[in-house]
Symmetry: C2
Amino acid sequence: MESRIERIKKQLHGASYKLTPQREATVMVLLENEEDHLSAEDVFLLVKERAPEIGLATVYRTLELLTELKIVDKINFGDGVARYDLRQEGATRFHHHLICIECGSVDEIQEDLLGEVEKIVETRFQFTVKDHWLTFHGICKRCKQKENKKK
Amino acid sequence: MESRIERIKKQLHGASYKLTPQREATVMVLLENEEDHLSAEDVFLLVKERAPEIGLATVYRTLELLTELKIVDKINFGDGVARYDLRQEGATRFHHHLICIECGSVDEIQEDLLGEVEKIVETRFQFTVKDHWLTFHGICKRCKQKENKKK
DNA sequence: CTAGATGCAAACATTTTGCATGATT
DNA sequence: AATCATGCAAAATGTTTGCATCTAG
């Protein structure tokens, strides 16, 4: 069984990009922090732990590369910082996010909830959907529980 | 019949903000370009036409204010620039966008297509939805017509 | 009259780029 | 060996802030 990291490496190779230690370390960091939504700076600091000589510019260049190859998605939650999120293997659409306006947590929804909605968009607006970006703002489960305990 | 601009002015007043000529000019520009998705710089240049002494910082401060009052929404389509979009009067949710990956056009969908999806999120993830942000990437009607003509 | 708003310039934060050096295929 | 990738520093971009001045209420 081939591991996820190996497949990503092959993807890089396949697109005729060199497999440098810096790129490898960056991919590893992304895999190990799949739950998080790391900024370039975050990735830089984590990569630095295992490859201290790496420069921030290289991280930016690698993340751009991975975005191009659709291995990661670049997201922007409104603060001025770009974050990078691994795409599920084989997924044709980006996953959804739940952002809590109380605690700032970001949860992911892997299921695609937009099948019907995309059909409507395709027929009613004659727009061929290639990808989607859906984010909900609201109150998360955990904060609601906290609220209830107070009462 | 009260005009939209007057109601916005009252909202400003109501929140005890002063109604300066600069703020008025900024709101006018937003109303006159409701279809567009103007950046702060865009707004600045347009406001400058009618109030040449205005400074960019004031535009930023006004746009922040209007965002706070939910008169406009601050959006980020992935390029590093924040754009500002008037919210429909009385709308509790932000409207959706269709971004064409061919020509870069941004169309708006005012109808709320997410009623059912929000219900699922509320029950399945116990997340109370306050607002949503939905963007589709794909090929717009116009670009598809151009494609067909070529054949 | 006074709190709040403005314009300007400087500061900030993030991201991009130029270039000489270094490493991968 | 040749091409592509890297690190560093400088530059570019977009946004925010400090402060003296001004103005709407």
